[in-house]
Each structure stands twice: as structure tokens, then as C-alpha cells.
């Protein structure tokens, strides 16, 4: 097994608040891994550090063996990282098809572009909405569109920040199937997720983040049984 992502001693604080504290994290290629933790644990911030939207005070990030700590965001993306943010980051005024085209035209042109767009429309069940303005899609459809934008040009690593937030149980289940499908095609997936049933559906291994530090790591069953994890997270989650 090869390591696709390796994070060493990553630190970041905003003002006095430490949001990443000595994070060491390793992800194997081909994995489907979940990151969980209570609200404000620093999960989204961790993603933004990986993506270069925030600069860490110290620490190193390796992707596919290369040090990407000082690359600009778009350069990291071009190395094969792709992301779906917590807040849907689609272009609301553009049509669904245009959203996908903007997402892919960077690598694809002409016939292969339209073929990929067609395939992704199909994959995300949005074929009938191709000319609809993205802003008027249902919340779940917007999430799918963004996943589609993230995977059309197959990335090596897909970062998903709460992909099922606001989805119906049915949509959530479909999303899980989609992710299995993508993983089977060789895309490594790292997802932040609150819905434990969904975590169960998509991954075996889980990392728990708490107050900017890695609190525990292990299988989903180990984590649900872990008394400390129950205390900081699982207890708080059924609010």
C-alpha cells in the first residue's frame, strides 16, 4: 500500500484559538476514510489547510510523496486533489451543464468534454436538469452537482466536507453508493461526516478530531465503543 497523503506536525491558530495542534495524519491510497468530531473541532479548517486556503504556522503536507505545503491552491488541485465544500460551492447563476464544463474544461476539450459532462450528468442523476440554473436545484441536487464537479476529471484524492448535510435518507443512501462507486474506480476519499449511519456505510476507518488535535483513530466500531469519543462527540451529537 502506498501513502497518498501525509501530514506532519501541522499547526494553525486564529488569534489565540488553536484550530490545528500538531496534527499527524496519514492516508493510504485507495482508502475511504472518515473524519469526525464535534462542531468547531477543526475539520473544515483541516481541509482548508490541505487545500492551501489557510497557511499553517508550521508542519508539512505531502501529497503523493511531494511536499505541497507551499503550493497555491490551484496548483494542489492540479496535482489531483478535488474538493466538495461544506457550503455548496456551485455557481448558482450558471446552468448545471456550465458548472460541469467550468469544472472540467481545464483538462478536457471538445468531444471528450461533452462526453464527460454527459457521463457525470448521468452519474449524478441530473440529466434532466442540465439547462437548469444551479441555484434553483434542491439542496441534495446541489450537493450532487458539486460532487460531480469534483469527480468528473478523476482526482486521486477527493475531499468531501459533510457531503450528506441536508439530504433526505434516500438521497444519503444514494450518495453512499456513489462514493463506493468512485472508490471502486480508484479514487481515495476523505470525508468529514456527522451522520454515523453514513460513516458506517462508507468507511471502515475513522479519525476523530477534537479541539484541533487528533483524539483517536481506528475502526468505526472501536470509535463508537471508545468512552472518550462517546463523551466528546457521540453524546453531544444526539442533541
Amino acid at each position: 500500500m502506498t501513502t497518498i497523503l501525509e501530514v506532519r506536525k501541522l499547526n494553525k491558530s486564529f488569534g489565540g484559538v488553536t484550530v490545528a495542534r500538531n496534527i499527524d495524519f496519514t492516508l493510504q491510497a485507495g482508502a475511504m476514510h472518515c473524519l469526525i468530531g464535534p462542531n468547531g473541532a477543526g475539520k473544515s479548517t483541516f481541509f482548508r489547510l490541505l487545500l492551501g486556503e489557510h497557511t499553517p504556522e508550521s508542519g508539512t503536507i505531502y501529497f503523493g510523496g511531494d511536499d505541497i505545503t507551499h503550493l497555491r491552491s490551484f496548483q494542489r488541485i492540479r496535482k489531483g486533489i478535488s474538493v466538495k465544500f461544506q457550503v455548496p460551492g456551485i455557481f448558482k447563476a450558471l446552468s448545471v451543464r456550465q458548472n460541469l464544463e467550468v469544472a472540467f474544461q481545464h483538462h478536457l476539450h471538445g468531444a471528450s468534454l461533452s462526453e464527460t459532462v454527459r457521463r457525470v450528468l448521468d452519474f449524478t442523476n441530473l440529466s434532466n436538469e442540465a439547462t437548469t440554473a444551479a441555484g434553483v436545484l434542491s439542496h441534495g441536487q446541489q450537493q450532487w452537482l458539486e460532487i460531480g464537479m469534483a469527480v468528473g476529471v478523476e482526482p486521486k484524492l477527493l475531499l468531501l466536507d459533510e457531503p450528506t448535510a441536508g439530504m433526505s435518507p434516500d438521497e444519503t443512501r444514494k450518495t453512499g453508493e456513489m462514493l463506493h462507486d468512485l472508490n471502486a474506480r480508484g479514487i481515495t476519499i476523505l470525508a468529514v461526516e456527522h451522520d454515523m449511519a453514513f460513516v458506517q456505510q462508507i468507511s471502515q476507518s475513522v479519525t476523530v478530531l477534537h479541539m484541533g488535535s487528533i483524539f483517536a483513530e481506528g475502526s468505526i466500531d472501536e470509535m463508537t465503543a471508545h468512552p472518550g469519543v462517546q463523551e466528546i462527540y457521540l453524546g453531544a451529537a444526539d442533541e
Binding site: E101, V102, Q105, T131
Partner: protein, 365 residues
């Protein structure tokens, strides 16, 4: 669910080279598609071509003056409407290129079509200066209202600088800059001809030259805006962070759009100077800097056709009001801007055009 349908954006697969670019004359980023639109456009062009037949040379020269400004307006439409950066700096590139045309032509003369060489150099200078300003702004992560402040400062600094170049020491070669009074004595554009050259003074010939340029630039921009480059500009306007996270170096795109917008402003500057053989620092002043914003906002900044038509309508209206006094005309301009912002935020011409488009089912929305 709310039914908002947008036209399909897919490029016809398998098209290449010139045919691909021609197919981009229509697309998601520009209003107007189908036979009906192009017939209407051809009729408008025909009317413009026939215009000199029904008007005297002076009136036609005056209409040429309106055309002069459209390049700066379309450039602003690109930078502001499509790329989302409200720039007050178009006049800086306008003025710089206008002065450059004067300096170059006064020094090298107008023989053998040298004025066109001067035009190209001056436009390139305006564009290069815009690229430089764009580089510092976008790579310096200046955003939103600060872009307006920086660009306004640039043009006002240039105005102030040029206004103090009155002394005889302020000369470049043969060309005196002349401070506040401005520079004059440069030749108009010329066309080399048998046994001499045709001087394009304000009049019918210049009108046709400018009309041809307007058509070329307009169609060229349509193709560019519907190409991947244009899609990315609109994506940046809608959500810059997301666009970067799709792997685009957004600062480069913003800088290039700003540079192109500046070059177009420079083209207006050169043509203005050549039209009247005259340019002054006030062409870079506060009022001058605000006017393009009014034209583009009133016409409709998010569509190049609305920008073009709106600019021509507003400038023509402005000029007919100036007969009653220029202060009065400015007040009306201000009122028009307020009205537009409050009632038709997408622009008057844009709103009318999309209504027409809706009736014929051929609009952009």
C-alpha cells in the same frame, strides 16, 4: 421547482479552429442567438452603414465620436460585468494611450501609415500598464471596493501628473506635454494612398473605419466570452474561491481580463486623440472616470451587447442634453444611474433585451 432554463452550453463536438471559434459567436455568456438575432443585428448594422447617406459630414463625424467610446465601455463590461472587478481605472489607460499616440505620431510623423503603428504601440502600452496594475492588485489580493479605490487613485494620480507638465522641460522628443492645456497637433489616423495619404479627420471615412472596428471587437469579444476563458471569468465573478479550487490560477485570469479591458480603453484613447487631434489631463479626471461606469451600468454590464448599445444610447442622449448645459447633463446622468440601480439593476438595455428575448423565446434566460 422554479423553472429557470438556460441555454445549452456544450460546444458542438468535433469542431476545430475557425469553425469552433465561429460557433462561439453564440453561447451561454452572450445574449442573442439564432437567425432572428443575427437578422436584427444585420439590420442595425445596415442602418449604421446607410447613416452617412442621410446625414452631413459633420453629423457623421459626430457619430464617429460616439463610436470612439464603445471600446472603453466594452472593456469595462469585460472587467466589471463579466469578471466582477469594478474598475474606475479605464480612463487611466485611455489617457496614457491617448498621450502615447500623440507623442509617437508627433515624433515619427504620419507617412506610410505610421499612425497605425502608433495606434498599435499606444494600445499595447495601455494594455501593458493595465497588466501591471492588474498584477499588483490581483496578486496582492485586493478585492471588491478596494479595486475601485486603487484604480480611481491611479487615474487621478495620472491626471494630476499630466496637469503639471506645463513647462518646456516636459517634452518627449518633439512632443510638448503642455500640462493642463493638453496636447495637440498630432495627426489624425491616415491611410497610405497613391500619391500621398488619406487623412481620417472626423467625417464619413473615419466613421466607416470605426464602425468596422466596433463590429470586429464586438464579435471578437463574443467569441472570447463564450470560449473557456469567458466561462472561467464568469465563474470567478460568481465564486472566486471555488473557481480556484477547480484548479484555475484565478489571479492570472483576472489580470489578463484587466489587461485586455485596459487595452480596449487604450484603443478608445488613441481614437479619441486621433479624432480631435487633442488630449488633456481632464480625460483622466474624476468625471471622466465615472462616466464609463454610468454607460455600462445603464446599458447592462453583464452582457456585451447591452453594454455596446447602452453606451451608444447614453452618450448620444448625454450629448443632446449638453446643448442645455453640461452641468445639467451630468445631473441627468446621475439620476439615470440611480434609477437604473434601483429599478433595473441589470441595466435598462439588458432588461429590455431579455424581455424581447422572452417574447421570441431566444433570450439568454
Amino acid at each position: 421547482m422554479n423553472e429557470i432554463r438556460l441555454p445549452d452550453a456544450t460546444e458542438a463536438p468535433g469542431r476545430r479552429g475557425p469553425r469552433l471559434w465561429l460557433s462561439r459567436l453564440e453561447g451561454p455568456q452572450t445574449m442573442g442567438r439564432g437567425l432572428g438575432f443575427w437578422i436584427a443585428a444585420a439590420l442595425v448594422l445596415l442602418a449604421a452603414i446607410l447613416y452617412p447617406a442621410f446625414n452631413n459630414d459633420y453629423t457623421v463625424g459626430n457619430a464617429a465620436y460616439f463610436l470612439v467610446w464603445t471600446f472603453m465601455a466594452m472593456g469595462l463590461g469585460l472587467v466589471w460585468g463579466y469578471c466582477g472587478a469594478l474598475s474606475f481605472g479605464q480612463t487611466a489607460f485611455f489617457g496614457l494611450a491617448g498621450y502615447a499616440y500623440g507623442v509617437i505620431t508627433i515624433n515619427i510623423g504620419s507617412a506610410f501609415g505610421a499612425t497605425w503603428l502608433a495606434l498599435v504601440l499606444a494600445v499595447a502600452l495601455g494594455g501593458a500598464f493595465a497588466l501591471l496594475i492588474g498584477y499588483f492588485m490581483f496578486y496582492g489580493r485586493i478585492k471588491g471596493v478596494f479595486i475601485g479605490i486603487v484604480t480611481l487613485s491611479v487615474t487621478l494620480v495620472l491626471e494630476t501628473f499630466m496637469a503639471q507638465t506645463a513647462g518646456p522641460q516636459w517634452r518627449i522628443g518633439e512632443a510638448r506635454l503642455n500640462g493642463f492645456n493638453g496636447m495637440s497637433g498630432m495627426p489624425p489616423l491616415t491611410v497610405p494612398w497613391f500619391g500621398g495619404e488619406i487623412l481620417l479627420y472626423a467625417g464619413t471615412t473615419l466613421y466607416y473605419v470605426l464602425l468596422g472596428m466596433v463590429v470586429l471587437v464586438y464579435l471578437g469579444l463574443r467569441m472570447l466570452l463564450n470560449a473557456p476563458f469567458g466561462n472561467v471569468l464568469v465563474a470567478i465573478r460568481e465564486n472566486p474561491e471555488r473557481t480556484e479550487m477547480l484548479g484555475y490560477g484565478i489571479r492570472l485570469y483576472q489580470m489578463l481580463a484587466f489587461g485586455l479591458g485596459g487595452a480596449l480603453a487604450g484603443l478608445s484613447g488613441v481614437l479619441y486623440t486621433a479624432w480631435g487631434q487633442y488630449i488633456t489631463p481632464s480625460s483622466m479626471g474624476l468625471t471622466a472616470a465615472a462616466l464609463p461606469i454610468v454607460w455600462v451600468a445603464v446599458g447592462g454590464r453583464r452582457d456585451i451587447t447591452a453594454t455596446l448599445l447602452g453606451t451608444l444610447i447614453v452618450i448620444a442622449g448625454f450629448q443632446s442634453l449638453t446643448i442645455y448645459g453640461s452641468q445639467y447633463a451630468l445631473v441627468v446622468m446621475g439620476a439615470l444611474l440611480v434609477f437604473t440601480v434601483l429599478v433595473t439593476p441589470n441595466g435598462l438595455v439588458f432588461t429590455v433585451m431579455s424581455q424581447i428575448g422572452r417574447i421570441f423565446g431566444k433570450g439568454r434566460e
